[in-house]
Symmetry: C2
């Protein structure tokens, strides 16, 4: 270690630990050698007991947990022979059991009441009795079938929680009892999900993260260094088939890939803490990452796990929270179910651990307060004390760009936030097996409501009626396809041909991300591999006009190709059409838009041919009025589509889209604005500012080097936005003559106001 690195590490340690509650810091050299030592520590338990009754959010969580577990103890438990998929009895019961054990273990430590320890012990012994007799789970759907559950993933969930329970009652058990549990249950369990399922364990994937964390947690609880090494570094000397895929179509492993927990931290997280699958899966994955990191930090601080990759695990907490809308719901990037938010229980751990080990950021306290609950451990105590002491500050979400890729050089997600609008712009890498084929797509939120949507995934998680709660086939045929998103489709074919093998090789590249001026924020990115021979360059801008309440979005999508193509740009507005400024013909009955690549799922309900003027679509959603204004060329086709064709079981939501289609052109320029300009109240029945403020939108220059858009507004003002298409140097000087007027500026873009 050279001196420079030493110093930066020292600084980091100072930053991370400077604000911590002193009493809760364990010995950095030796760690916690006794039990509990994973999420609760001996010192932490002392502190918790000393503070009980005076830490409201902790006391409340404790009381609720006690009530829940007392009722369960009263009722007794069941350890059924595994049989069902998720949603079925045996699945749900084993899932419930591990949560009960984890909570009962914590209660035993905090309340010092042996009934909780006995409950955990009795259940563990029942598992230890039955586990050796259970074959592989009878349901065949998974590439890595578990024993308690239909997939090793759920078995790993079980072990991550159960290891915590075991740690909590470790000292309550006799050595002989511990030997029985470890020999009959924990070690074979850990071996099964690792050695016997290397196609599950030796991956870089959220499945493997759970597997690694599970083996690691039980290793720490049992003080088993060989197992801990396996968790951290994978199962060694296992052959693998480079063509083997999982159920989602993702490759199991690629050549030369690192394995084990560290590899799972290193690869999917960018240096900014963005998780390449997207926030929905980060939310799911963050629990094992952080719970194991917490346990490792408590028990083996010499691993310095929170310093790994420049503190990426702690950065990931901040990244994840920043990828939520005003209501705390996560943005939809790749496979994601709508409505998931930072109120999810795994986020309680995430926030508490992030606070406790990440420098006590007071903004996290405000989120913990909204969650209304803390973890019953050292981290939760730290949060409870922070809130009690009034340290809470708002968690302010600003515009942010989060790089993707292990080295941060595989594109990014850009979020522009302005006046209640949140625009999520995707120019990332593929996102592993959960990735969608939608480079340069965006979604728009207004005060926490999605108004230009990303469809999300075609899945109803844990709703057994819908395909057992698993991914529906429409996830592949519709939700992942490009046409399901707000971005360019060339020749009715998805980007990267909709093939994972191709898409996963590439990423988009950020071009501009400039958010220093709240009234003019710009994100721009390029994609040159989605369609070979075609270059896509999209720029999204939020502009605050002082005459209007809300900022509006300017969207410039520039396409240039070596070949003549058809380009479709869908616009998935959510809400009810109020008015268009163009005529269209609605068909008696809808047609089907296309044959494949998701087009087979779209009805074509109406269409129109542009006369080259601006088109405007005015719609109402959640009692707000919106208008989309787009520049068109003569004979552009305008299509009103609706999702739901070839959907024999009504799996899809029947929402609308407007598609702007340009045919038989090499190059194309799509320019539009989106405004949130008015409101309606069904109670007062007042419509306020129901119409767009945009008078006209026009392209006044478009060359290889520059694109210039003139925005004329109804206040008799106008603005010109010019972007330099090939030079994003912040200091470069530009000069451009448009209609005999000369514009000069410095940097990659300029907005000129004509008053």
């Amino acid at each position: 270690m050279n001196i420079k690195i030493k110093i930066s590490l020292l600084v980091f340690v100072l930053v991370v630990f400077s604000c911590k509650e002193k009493a809760l810091v364990n010995d950095e050299q030796t760690g916690n050698q006794g039990h509990p030592s994973l999420i609760l520590t001996e010192q932490g338990v002392k502190e918790i007991r000393a503070n009980l009754g005076s830490i409201p959010i902790f006391d409340k969580t404790l009381a609720a947990t006690k009530q829940e577990i007392d009722a369960e103890i009263e009722q007794g438990f069941d350890v059924p022979v595994p049989k069902d998929y998720s949603g079925g009895y045996t699945h749900e019961t084993h899932k419930k059991n591990y949560i009960l054990m984890q909570k009962a273990g914590a209660l035993y430590q905090i309340l010092d009441d042996e009934k909780y320890a006995k409950f955990v012990k009795d259940m563990l012994f029942e598992y230890a009795k039955q586990y050796p007799t259970w074959p592989i789970h009878p349901k065949p759907r998974s590439y890595a079938r578990g024993k308690l559950f239909w997939q090793c993933l759920n078995d790993s969930n079980w072990l991550v929680y159960t290891a915590q329970a075991y740690d909590c009652i470790y000292n309550y058990l006799t050595e002989e009892e511990r030997n029985t549990l470890e020999t009959d249950l924990f070690k074979p369990f850990a071996d099964y999900i690792s050695k016997e399922n290397p196609q599950f364990f030796n991956r870089v994937h959220n499945h493997a993260t759970w597997g690694n964390a599970a083996v690691g947690m039980i290793a720490l609880a049992m003080d088993d260094d060989e197992l801990l090494d396996r968790a951290l570094n994978g199962v060694k000397d296992v052959d693998f088939d480079p063509n083997e895929k999982d159920n989602d179509g993702g490759y199991i492993r690629k050549d030369g890939q690192q394995i084990g927990f560290y590899a799972n931290v290193n690869e999917p997280f960018s240096p900014d803490g963005y998780f390449t699958e997207g926030p929905y899966y980060q939310r799911y994955a963050s629990y094992p990452f952080l719970i194991f990191a917490q346990a490792l930090q408590n028990k083996k601080p010499e691993h310095k796990v929170f310093e790994f990759k420049d503190g990426v695990l702690l950065k990931s907490v901040n990244a994840l929270l920043n990828l939520s809308d005003a209501d705390g719901e996560f943005f939809l990037l790749n496979d994601a179910q709508k409505g998931m938010s930072y109120y999810n229980s795994s986020l309680i751990s995430t926030v508490d651990i992030g606070y406790h080990f990440g420098g006590n950021n007071p903004g996290l306290l405000s989120i913990a307060k909204k969650q209304g609950e803390v973890t019953l451990d050292d981290a939760g105590l730290a949060v409870a004390l922070g809130i009690k002491e009034g340290k809470e500050k708002p968690f302010v979400k600003k515009s942010i760009e989060l790089s993707d890729g292990a080295n941060g050089d595989e594109g990014a997600v850009g979020v522009l936030r302005s006046g209640g609008l949140e625009l999520v712009f995707k120019y990332t890498a593929h996102g592993l097996s959960h990735g969608h084929y939608d480079k340069l797509s965006y979604a728009l939120f207004d005060d926490g409501d999605e108004v230009v949507q990303d469809y999300g995934m075609a899945r109803f998680v844990n709703i057994e009626q819908k395909g057992g709660g698993n991914y529906l086939k429409e996830n592949t045929t519709w939700a992942k396809q490009t046409i399901a998103h707000n971005t360019i489709v060339q020749n009715e074919t998805s980007q990267f041909q909709g093939k994972y093998d191709i898409g996963s090789q590439y990423h988009s590249n950020g071009y501009i991300f400039s958010v220093g001026n709240d009234s003019l924020q710009v994100a721009s990115a390029k994609e040159e591999n989605a369609y070979p021979g075609t270059k896509l360059h999209r720029t999204v801008v939020t502009i605050k006009d002082e005459d209007y309440d809300k900022p509006y979005v300017l969207d410039i999508m520039r396409v240039s190709s070596q070949n003549s193509n058809q380009y479709d740009l869908p616009f998935y507005f959510l809400g009810h059409i109020m008015k268009t400024n163009f005529e269209y013909s609605k068909y008696d009955v809808p047609k089907i838009l296309g044959k494949s690549d998701g087009y087979q799922h779209l009805y074509k309900e109406a269409s129109s041919t542009s006369n080259g003027e601006n088109i405007q679509l005015n719609w109402l959603q959640n009692n707000k009025f919106y208008t989309y204004t787009a520049v068109t060329s003569n004979n552009n086709e305008i299509i009103f589509g609706r999702i739901g064709a070839n959907d024999p079981e009504f799996n899809l939501r029947n929402e609308q889209t407007l598609i702007l289609r340009k045919k038989n052109v090499n190059d194309a320029l799509f320019v539009s604005t989106i405004e949130s300009h008015g409101t309606y109240s069904p109670v007062s029945e007042l419509a306020i500012n129901a119409y767009s403020n945009i008078a006209n939108l026009s392209v006044i220059h478009n060359s290889k080097e520059y694109t210039a858009v003139l925005i004329e507004t109804n206040n008799d003002k106008s603005k010109v936005f010019i972007i330099s298409n090939e030079n994003n140097d912040k200091d470069a000087a530009h000069k451009l003559a448009i209609n005999d007027k000369e514009y000069t500026w410095k940097g990659p873009y300029i907005l000129i106001e004509n008053k």
Copy 2:
């Protein structure tokens, strides 16, 4: 007046006035002779001034009003030459002006600051200057065009508010000034909407109510007894054309009809206070009814307006509030826009007047508190004092039947409330020109969310983009038609042929309304005129099974006809289909279901033919799981429909329906249950009780006299519900043998539990 009547009136007066704030009761003999004397009285103003600063809800409303009016005074006003339809500048400005004047008038009285009086005076004089020069409004759409607005209705709105303002500044003006205003503005204004537009004024209709109240208010303000008589009793000696209709297709007047304010109270309100057009229009109409009644009571107590028709105006307040769901949103009966609620400003007057003049019901205080606002007058003061003194109690809405018809003998609305469910069952008269053709239809709400919907009206009120904010043509072609509702359609023809002339002659009849037992509530009604030769008898039941969290609904629709017909029973579930227990074929592209009577607006998306077993439809809405279970006969057709065909401007909402169709039969029996049985959380991703608890539903007896349904549930229990179809005598003894088992009971129905 005979003695009996005198006593009952006395009792009523005691009930109504016993709890009133003594100081606010005016002299019953003489009334308030000075000014103000309409909604504010001299005594009331004294009381208000004495209490200011110590009556929070009043103080808050006052401060907000002061802030609003101060800003407007600062900015100045405009009295533009009338030109636009609603949504346009001149319409919205004149509308704003009358509200500003009314508020400024109240501020002048309460704050004793002349700047408010001057603002009203200046605006009134501007109107007095221009009004005589204005021709009839240039927009031609109305059967009764106004001068300030495109219809007399809005002119009347103006005068109702402006009369209050005039009363408030009456003493501020010189006699000469008053003469100018009365001569140049108020008298010609009142004449125009009455004498010159008798087709508007001499009706029984919400339009006329506004007209009558407008003339009455200004009459009271001017002390003009001739005008007051006109308001109360109509314009005398006017010929009328019995075939003349208004823009909604309603007849202007029928022979022998009473006219004037009293007639407008008497006819549309049933003795229970139900307003025949439905709660949406009652909400709109209630303001002029109650504001004028208040003014009349204050100024001319000898009219005893609140005692008219046994106190029906005060009863109407209770009726209206009972026709709202758990969130305070009004049920959709006839023409009605979704989302209208008791938070509407007209309900603030309604609640405050209902409290002040109706015996100080403490339940009304809890609604006033939710509204967060009171009227700035005597009634508002009474409410503010009630809240301040902690008299508030919850407004508990129970199951209720509200009769329809001036004499209460034209059917009713029945509302069954049980465990969060609210079932609204319609067996009313037609509802004047706003009536829909849907006898024996129902809608179901769960915790304030509509789950089996009434479509409401096809109109976006005040949203100019959609047909100027007026009724859309789809209101007639779709929303009013029977197939748009959850009730029987015979031979694809709407009830009463969809003709107002026919429908308005008839009403359904209640048969049973029994809600004494919270676990078993029954509403049953018959309709024998919708289809000549066909009798419809529907019974809806809420049953609370102790083994399940929520009650469920049993629906028995019995049809018997002299002829062979096709019967369709649509079921407008709101939400996403999760699963059906039957196979169906979805078409590649939808078909159109029919040619007329609303069928032309329905797509047929999928269909199935029943094998005679139960069909089940399980769906998800607002994160709750619901199941519809229906008995079928062999070869019944099951149709999945979707609204939106022949809708060239996307005016309709594209929601789904399931239609059960029975063909070529004289008699038919439709039996189904609806359950709200489970929940889903997109945050925890847990699905709880996702499936129906109904194992089987079967008809075990059906004769002219009795219908018996066996409900078998998954808890291995069953219940038999038997209804006597022809004898609803509560004391009648019944005996019926079904499958060798003899059932005996008393009264029109029985539920037998087999455990």
